[in-house]
């Protein structure tokens, strides 16, 4: 059979209702038309530079390196972007594209709220209407981000169905898109969903790995030995990996949220505990029961609390090009506190999963080896939740 569009090995595809098919076809056509258009590229470049603050720094974590007594550790500082995470890279690209397509309204799903905040920001900037779907449980976990989105002029709709988390927010955003297609672009936040989203989001996030490569060559004169990023749907990881896929000496490591451990049910580690399935527009790995019912996953991190993974990650796993490791809540919380104390950088609890894995492997590596950790976002939003995790009664209200 001929290779189908939007496939990564066996993964990917377009498993969506017929009502949405022309919308994704039009999106793909528009993207192919604009992606190499000099005017579009220039506009996006200026936005990323002047508005989002790119390039983001590649910071040598000297104290962490000395403390772990192993590999040299660099942090890719996506937390320093405008809106506080890597999500803005993709959102500015998609919002600009949507505007070119004549759309006047953006809808989005959000877990931790970072993608919702980024989308609300781009909508405010470009004068577009914005509606963000967020699991009701996440609106509780991430109250500050709910307020930020509203402040930016977006409507936040708490999703009460299912587990009231990220997967339900995605389902509801897809439902809303089938209701209103003409003026609405679904600004999907990760390298997931139906083709062309995994490709578009990857391309807009690939700026992370291009910058890492350029900067590490300047600073060290060679490529890193490992690039580590956290993975929910997988957008910051795909962005961090993409330019290194052809460089076989660079180990690519995605850190999945293991929640309370991959032996039990309270986990969101898709590659480690899931199997092949079809959901949310794509064929990939999913946490599910024996009859294909999607599992109610769990992680302390709202942004990684998702039962699937982007199709290109599933493919990188299949061919052995990337490795996906589980990191528990406890390990992530320890890393959250460790990076705060050691480097004065409070990472997002999502990113702390990547920091935690680096803390495990760095001491085993030679002193002249190099690890790059992508700090995908900043952790201000998580402070209250982590305090509660540690038994402190810190309330935002």
């Amino acid at each position: 059979m001929a290779e189908k569009k939007g496939r990564y090995g066996n993964h990917g595809g377009q498993y969506i209702p017929e009502t949405l098919m022309n919308a994704v076809i039009e999106l793909e056509e528009a993207y192919m038309r604009f992606k190499d258009d000099p005017g579009f590229k220039e506009e996006l470049f200026v936005l990323l530079k002047e508005y989002a603050g790119r390039p983001s720094g590649l910071y040598f974590a000297k104290k962490m390196t000395e403390d772990l007594k192993g590999a040299k550790i660099y942090l890719k500082r996506e937390d320093l972007n405008h809106t506080g995470s890597h999500k803005i890279n993709n959102v500015l690209g998609q919002a600009l594209l949507a505007k070119k397509m004549g759309k006047t309204r953006l809808i989005a799903e959000t877990g931790a709220g970072q993608h919702g905040v980024a989308t609300a920001t781009a909508a405010a900037l470009m004068g577009m209407e914005c509606v963000v779907f967020m699991g009701v449980e996440d609106t509780e976990r991430q109250k500050l981000n709910v307020y930020r989105m509203r402040l930016l002029g977006a409507e936040v709709i708490p999703v009460k169905t299912g587990t009231g988390t990220l997967k339900d927010a995605v389902s509801e955003a897809m439902r809303e898109w089938t209701r209103r297609i003409d003026d609405t672009h679904y600004c999907l936040g990760s390298v997931m969903g139906p083709h062309p989203f995994p490709m578009i989001v990857r391309d807009f996030q690939a700026v992370i790995s291009r910058e890492i490569k350029e900067e590490i060559l300047k600073k060290e004169g060679r490529l890193p030995d490992a690039v580590i990023a956290c993975v929910g749907g997988g957008s910051n990881a795909m962005g961090s990996f993409y330019d290194f896929i052809g460089d076989e000496t660079v180990k690519l490591i995605g850190c999945e949220a293991a929640g309370r451990g991959i032996e039990g049910f309270e986990t969101a580690a898709t590659i480690n505990t899931g199997r092949m399935g079809i959901f949310h527009g794509m064929k990939s790995y999913f946490c599910q029961d024996e009859f294909g019912q999607i599992a109610p996953v769990y992680s302390i991190s709202a942004g990684l609390d998702y039962p699937g993974i982007g199709p290109e990650h599933a493919y990188l796993h299949d061919i052995g090009r990337a490795e996906y490791v589980p990191v528990t809540d406890d390990e992530a919380v320890n890393a959250f506190e460790y990076l705060s104390r050691t480097e004065g950088i409070i990472p997002a609890i999502e990113s702390a999963h990547a920091v935690a894995h680096a803390m495990k492997i760095a001491p085993e590596m030679d002193k002249d080896s190099i690890i790059v950790i992508t700090v995908s976002g900043r952790g201000d939003k998580d402070c209250a939740a982590i305090a509660r995790y540690r038994g402190e009664d810190l309330r935002e209200e």
């Binding site: 209702p17 017929e18 009502t19 098919m21 389902s171 439902r175 209701r179 024996e290 009859f291 294909g292």
Partner: protein, 261 residues
């Protein structure tokens, strides 16, 4: 044969979520629906995250799964009642339910129970190959959907359609609508230029007038959420109420004639 549902005139097609509130009640509901004039029944196999459904059918899926219904349990139920229900039956579920069971194994199993086709709302034309091939092999039909947004895709989809075509009445997910404003006539005309396979309209139909109206321009009307609401309200006592509603709707649809050309 699915075709037989459309041979006596316009078809009324109710949708029932299996296992809501439990499989025993579903069995009774199916019999009531058959005895009160249904021409074909769509049996929903619940899915945890039904992205094409509105709140009413979503809740039915949740209730059924909470009560422990499984794909195997539904196959067993169909085997028990198939002999009593002398009209075509089709399944409606989501791709992952079929895929995770093994598309071939799933299809073989349901073909054996006497189900004649399947509707998978998250499998569009481009992705249908791995499902339609096993349907063909097992002598059942993969039902295609056509939406108001399908436009140039209509002829392509209709050209390969099997069983019947499910015409989605309007944008959005399943659930009642006050009125259906889409101009479906040109869509159905295009379908008919491309195939002899019958087409029935669904999504948002909740009363006899709407059902008759949709049947008048097509070959039948499909009703889901309005029935599920009755089941939600009456639970184990719902079969007689569903029967009454099906009779009203089926009578309206059966009394429908094609508008004079």
């Amino acid at each position: 044969m699915i075709k037989s549902a459309f041979e006596k005139g316009k078809a009324f097609i109710p949708f029932i979520t299996c296992g809501d509130p439990d499989t025993e009640t579903t069995e009774k509901i199916l019999k009531e629906a058959y005895l009160n004039g249904a021409d074909l029944i769509e049996l929903g196999i619940p899915f945890s995250d039904p992205t094409a459904e509105g709140p009413v059918i979503q809740s039915a899926n949740t209730r059924a799964l909470k009560n422990g219904v499984t794909t195997d349990g539904i196959f067993a139920m169909v085997e028990r009642i198939r002999g009593d229900i002398k009209i075509p039956l089709v399944f409606m579920t989501y791709a992952n339910v079929v895929y995770s069971y093994g598309a071939d194994r799933f299809t073989r199993r349901y073909a054996e129970t006497g189900i004649e086709g399947i509707i998978l709302p998250d499998v569009p034309f481009e992705e249908k190959g791995e499902f339609s091939s096993v349907c063909e092999k097992n002598g059942v039909d993969l039902i295609s959907l056509i939406a108001p947004t399908s436009k140039k895709r209509i002829s392509m989809i209709a050209g390969e359609a099997k069983g019947f075509i499910y015409v989605v009445s309007s944008l959005g997910v399943t659930g009642e609508r006050k009125s259906i404003d889409t101009d479906l006539k040109p869509i159905i005309d295009t379908i008919r230029e491309n195939t002899d396979v019958p087409c029935a309209v669904g999504f948002g139909i909740s009363n006899p007038e709407q059902a008759a109206g949709m049947a008048a321009i097509s070959d039948g009307a499909i009703v889901g959420s309005a029935i599920i609401k009755i089941i939600e309200k009456y639970g184990k006592d719902s079969p007689a109420h569903v029967g009454e509603f099906v009779k009203k709707m089926a009578d309206a649809v059966h009394g429908t004639k094609d508008p004079a050309a």
